[in-house]
């Protein structure tokens, strides 16, 4: 989920910020996807298809020769047009385009092979390989590397398309190529004329792509040798080979998984979604190895020069595009074709991931960031938005997939916590409730598999305090415990053994259990030593600051008040639509949940009323039965009384069910939504700090300027130092903000997923209880029916 959500708005700095975390790679991929999508879109457009094939060779060489990467953006309109015109005449040959492409890349006249569809495919791939190889050689040249990747992507897309359906493919591939070329040279206008509206947006991206291609072409002189080897091998082999040769390192983690998946998935259109989803899941989920690799990959993508910005997005797009393209092809063409398509596309995906991995390995971490920052500025807004829009639907699909898989994974809790046996300890107002906290775990970080400790309520609160202090500012959503209830607790303390206080204790016990379970289910919080201590240690130091009326409590109140004030004063111009939307969603959900909670509470009250009324009616009926002089009727009435008596029990149970499986669930989520909002607030605070630091930096700079003007060299030195210091702070804070944003995002996504699962579970539980009571009801009445009939 996290990955997908991040994907959708690639342009935003937040998504890119994630470098620090594992999610980075995801973000990188996402962006990649977008670009790829663009490519695909272009490819899908049939009008240009035939012309494309020929166009490529002609256009490309010219482009390549003529332009350095930076120029691409600036190319005048004239050039693209001319190139297109040239291309068109030759375009008629379907098979050729790919060959041409190969030729272009290799500068070799391999076109003779073009008759066979496979050959062209192989070649391009080979070329690709070669390119990569060249890259590896030229690793230090960042620009080159990025270009290569881009090219690779483009090549792949073309290759795949060309291979899969000979007629359709040729078109697609050619289109893609064309577009790429055109885009590279051509401004938006030309494209728009040829392509549908969707395409028009893409040009900027494609331009970038094209440029890299050009570069690549220039770089890729060695490929012929590679080609010779590979054409003979099956497509699959080719890919595998590539994987091995090119990306020995990345393979260990990802490539191994990906290729398999792709193979299996061939027939399906979903192929793309699956591998992607799998990758994202894995990265998000667990294995740290993967994470590190992925992070590197993500980092790597941006490493290149200015053009790189475009690149990360492109690969992702390619995938999406592929998905789009494949679907139609499957429906139209024979299954065989579709399969081939799938294979190719997948391979491509693999290659891509691998490629990115490599890049990442090459690039140092620090560079990433800069690149990331550069991204938004460099990439054209239109392309980004287009990419985002495209990415969304797929991301949704991915989300679903992920959800399903994760649901399976998560159903087995690694740590199972239960809170049991509430017990009153002490007397009078000093009395408190202690609970038995039992833990069952398979995690190696605990010494035993099962252990039990006794904790009092304030310990739970203390744990929360510690956790929220530590993790709250980082944007984590720390599950909140149930509130202190002076009234409820006083009742318990006074020792009234009535149903309401028993109800209160049971409610609280359940809430505490769910709270703890949420904490231990959180992948980050479970790592916290305080959590472990809470679960394991025999004696805990008494939590002091949790008393509602203590001095600490008072301080907390003041803090809260100032927080509220600052919240009011901070006007954050939200740069990220995602956060804005989420915040709104959370707030309205909070409101609705509150309403719902009140309603369910009233339902419970009414149900209890019903139970009471039923009881009194039962009694009354029994009396009536005793007064009745007709024996059969008297019996029936007393039977009715009995039925109503049981009904009362049913209603009571149902009321309890309403409370425990429904009202409590909602109460939990009201609290949790509060926590979510808290994490949003934390993010805002960090942002505010960043802004303040920036303002400060500005001021320092001004003073420096003044000093410079006043010509005071001694102070100037100091001022410069200060500026350096503040600059460091600004970057630090900014990084903090990005980090927190990323965390919040991830957390919110995780929260939502948990919510869905939780609701499902609870709803089913609730339904079961309803069913059971319904069943009982049927039984009772069915037993009563013959009695009624027996009245003579």
């Amino acid at each position: 989920m996290a990955t997908s959500s991040e994907r959708s708005p690639p342009p935003f700095p937040d998504s890119e910020d994630q470098d620090v975390l594992d999610t980075e790679d995801v973000a990188g991929r996402d962006s990649d996807e977008d670009d790829g999508g663009d490519l695909f879109m272009s490819s899908s457009n049939p009008p240009l298809t035939e012309a494309d094939t020929l166009l490529e060779p002609a256009s490309q060489p010219s482009d390549v020769l003529m332009k350095p990467p930076a120029d691409i953006m600036n190319d005048p309109l004239i050039e693209p047009i001319s190139s297109q015109t040239e291309n068109k005449p030759a375009s008629e040959v379907v098979s050729e385009p790919s060959d041409d492409f190969v030729d272009l890349t290799n500068n070799i006249g391999v076109t003779t092979e073009s008759a066979v569809a496979e050959i062209p495919l192989d070649e391009p791939s080979d070329d690709f390989v070669d390119i990569l190889g060249s890259e590896t050689e030229a690793q230090r040249e960042e620009v080159v590397v990025t270009d290569v990747t881009v090219e690779a992507a483009a090549d792949k897309s073309e290759v795949t398309s060309g291979v899969t359906e000979s007629p359709g493919h040729g078109k697609i591939g050619s289109d893609a190529e064309e577009e790429a070329q055109e885009t590279s040279t051509a401004p938006i206008i030309d494209l728009g004329a040829d392509l549908p509206a969707s395409n028009t947006q893409q040009p900027p991206v494609s331009d970038k792509i094209a440029d890299p291609l050009v570069d690549l072409l220039s770089d890729v002189s060695p490929p012929p040798a590679a080609d010779a080897k590979k054409p003979s091998g099956a497509t699959i082999d080719l890919f595998e080979d590539e994987g091995r040769d090119l990306f020995a390192e990345p393979r260990q983690t990802k490539s191994a998984k990906l290729p398999q998946k792709s193979l299996f998935g061939e027939a399906d259109e979903d192929l793309f979604g699956e591998p992607l989803g799998a990758i994202s899941k894995k990265t998000v989920n667990k294995e740290q190895k993967e994470k590190s690799v992925t992070t590197k990959a993500a980092a790597a993508v941006p490493t290149g020069g200015p053009l790189q910005d475009g690149n990360p997005t492109e690969p992702a797009d390619i995938f999406t595009e592929e998905a789009v393209a494949t679907a139609p092809s499957v429906s139209n063409t024979s299954t065989v074709n579709s399969k081939t398509n799938g294979v190719h596309s997948e391979e491509e995906a693999d290659i891509f991931s691998e490629a990115t991995v490599e890049l990442s390995l090459d690039s140092p971490r620090t560079e990433r960031k800069n690149d990331v920052m550069a991204k938004p500025s460099a990439s054209a807004p239109t392309s980004l938005s287009a990419a985002a829009s495209q990415a969304k639907p797929q991301s949704a699909a991915l989300e679903e997939l992920e959800e399903e898989e994760e649901a399976e994974l998560d159903d087995k809790f690694e740590v199972l916590v239960s809170v049991k046996d509430p017990e009153k300890i002490g007397d009078g107002m000093n009395a408190y409730m202690a609970y038995k906290v039992s833990t069952q775990t398979t995690l190696p970080m605990f010494r035993n598999k099962t252990f039990t400790v006794r904790r009092r309520f304030s310990d739970f609160l203390g744990l929360y305090e510690k956790l929220s202090e530590k993790h709250g500012p980082n944007g984590f959503i720390v599950p909140p415990p149930p509130e202190k209830s002076i009234l409820g607790m006083t009742k318990v303390k006074v020792g009234k053994e009535d149903s309401s206080s028993a109800d209160f204790v049971e409610r609280r016990r359940g809430a505490l259990e769910r709270y703890l379970q949420r904490v231990v289910n959180h992948p980050s919080l479970i790592q916290d030593p305080d959590v472990r201590e809470f679960l394991e240690r025999e004696e805990l130091p008494r939590a002091v600051s949790t008393q509602a009326l203590s001095g600490a409590g008072f301080l907390k109140m003041i803090n809260k008040a100032t927080d509220a004030v600052s919240k009011m004063t901070i006007k954050m111009n939200e740069s990220d639509v995602w956060f804005e939307e989420k915040l709104q969603e959370v707030e309205s959900a909070d409101q609705q949940f509150r309403k719902l909670h009140a309603l369910v509470e009233s339902l419970v009250i009414h149900r209890k009323e019903l139970s009471l009324n039923t009881a009194s009616f039962a009694k009354s009926t029994a009396m009536l039965g005793s007064a009745e002089d007709n024996t059969a009727l008297s019996r029936a009435l007393s039977q009715l009384a009995e039925v109503e008596d049981k009904m009362e029990q049913l209603h009571q149970d149902q009321a309890a069910n309403d409370t425990f499986s429904f009202a409590e669930l909602i109460a939990d989520y009201i609290r949790l939504l509060g926590a979510v909002r808290g994490s949003f607030d934390h993010r805002m605070k960090v942002w505010q700090r960043w802004q303040d630091a920036q303002a400060m930096l500005q001021k320092k700079r001004e003073t420096e300027a003044k000093l410079l003007w006043a010509n005071k060299p001694d102070k100037l030195q100091l001022a410069k130092e200060e500026i350096a210091e503040w600059e460091a702070k600004v970057t630090q804070y900014e990084r903090d903000f990005e980090r927190v944003s990323a965390t919040v995002r991830k957390e919110v996504v995780r929260f939502e997923k948990e919510k869905t699962k939780n609701f499902k579970r609870q709803i089913i539980k609730y339904l079961e209880s309803l069913l059971q009571s319904q069943q009982q009801l049927i039984k009772y009445w069915e037993a009563f029916l013959p009695e009624a009939k027996a009245i003579a």
Partner: protein, 418 residues
């Protein structure tokens, strides 16, 4: 006896089914019109009796006309020995009307959907009250028509036949007070009379039974009413919950949307079932109890009249003794005594018959209603059951654990289909 049983059956909600097998006089109220607080009933009669001018006719009548008919019957000396069917209660649309008003005030706080649902619910309630009102009026007439003596009553026939407005004079304040006063006197009188020794065991028993039964059934009625109202409250809660869930799901963009939607649907269905349970309980149980509460009151009135006659007889005996002592007005007193005795005997005789038949009638009515209620409860519960299953369906693929439960449910489902 059978005819009475039949009429009795039909007496309890039998708008459509006329079980009166005495085809000589069939009465029903096919139509009623509600104008502000007045309800105009169309009383339709079909008869073969020669005492009526036409074999079939309809007349418009109001609630007050029914009350007038009841009062004249009660006041007729000749019917003192009969259980006069209890007068129908005054139509009361205040409850739903007030609720409707409240609903209008609270409209702003509700979603549109919620509001319309609440409105529908209230309209249904209103309609139910209306139907019930028509029914009790109809039942009153049908009981009269099926009674061998009361059906011959002149006033009753006028009530049925006179096609103009009866223009019964509404009771004015003084008369209202008079009625109240009369009631006071009656209850005081009852206390006085209670000192008189009962001569007949049957009546002695019947009296204690009815007094006891009356208080019990009154209590039960109140409790049943409360219970029914609780059911209605729950149904109302369901509406709100369903609506809120709906709006929640509308705003939710995550996978939870589906769950919330399903839950909302489920509550909507539960609402319908709960509402039906409430209205059926109201109809089958509360109405039954309510009706018999009034009927027992009527029987008690009969006992009172008899006791009154007995007291009169005792007094006349005393008067005769006195007269004999004074040897003055002896024949007059003797005649009076004879008259009182005759009246008392007649009352006792017809009263015994009436009470016995009343008992049979009551048992049959209870039987019928209890059976119907049990059946309806089962039906609703099963409906609930299937609804729940349909609610579970889409939630199924969450885990293997649910799958097994689902299998179980499916099994049950088929079981019920069978």
């Amino acid at each position: 006896m059978t005819s009475i049983d039949e009429s009795n059956k039909e007496k309890l909600r039998s708008v459509s089914v006329d079980l009166n097998n005495d085809a000589s006089l069939l009465i029903d109220i096919p139509d009623a019109l509600c104008e502000r607080d007045k309800v105009k009933f169309t009383v339709h009669t079909k008869t073969t009796l020669s005492s009526f001018q036409k074999p079939e006719f309809s007349v418009p009548r109001q609630h007050e006309d029914f009350i007038w008919l009841h009062d004249t019957l009660v006041e007729t000396e000749d019917y003192a020995g009969l259980i006069i069917p209890p007068a129908p209660p005054k139509p009361d649309f205040e409850g739903p009307r007030e609720k409707m008003h409240k609903l209008g005030e609270g409209e702003a706080t509700m979603t549109k959907e919620e509001y319309t649902k609440m409105k529908q619910e209230l309209e249904a309630e209103y309609l139910a009250v209306f139907k019930k009102t028509v029914q009790v009026h109809e039942v009153f007439l049908q009981r009269l028509s099926s009674h061998p003596i009361l059906s011959k009553d002149r006033n009753f026939q006028i009530f049925l036949e006179y096609d103009q407005d009866l223009s019964v004079r509404r009771k004015n304040a003084k008369e209202m007070f008079g009625g109240f006063f009369k009631n006071m006197v009656k209850s005081a009188d009852e206390v006085l009379i209670s000192g008189i020794k009962e001569v007949d065991d049957f009546f002695e028993q019947e009296k204690t039974f009815l007094l006891d039964y009356y208080s019990k059934i009154k209590d039960s009625t109140a409790k049943a009413e409360k219970m029914t109202r609780s059911h209605k409250n729950i149904a109302d809660d369901y509406i709100h919950i369903s609506a809120t869930l709906n709006s929640l799901s509308a705003e939710d963009s995550t996978g939870n949307k589906k769950n919330l939607e399903k839950l909302s649907d489920l509550f909507e269905k539960l609402r319908k079932v709960e509402g039906r349970v409430a209205s059926d309980q109201e109809l089958k149980l509360t109405e039954l109890l309510r009706y018999y509460m009034r009927d027992i009151q009527a029987a008690k009135d009969l006992l009172y009249r008899r006791a009154r006659a007995l007291a009169d007889y005792e007094n006349s005996n005393k008067a005769l003794d006195k007269a004999r002592l004074k040897s003055k007005d002896i024949p007059q007193a003797e005649e009076h005594q004879q008259h009182c005795l005759q009246k008392f005997d007649k009352l006792s005789e017809s009263g015994k018959k009436e009470l016995t038949s009343f008992k049979g009638r009551r048992v049959v009515a209870f039987r019928k209603n209890l059976i119907e209620m049990a059946e309806l409860e089962i039906k609703h519960a099963k409906q609930d059951y299937t609804h729940n299953i349909s609610g579970l369906f889409p939630l199924k693929p969450s885990c293997s654990f649910c799958l097994t439960i689902f299998d179980l449910l499916e099994f049950f489902f088929f079981f019920f289909l069978l």
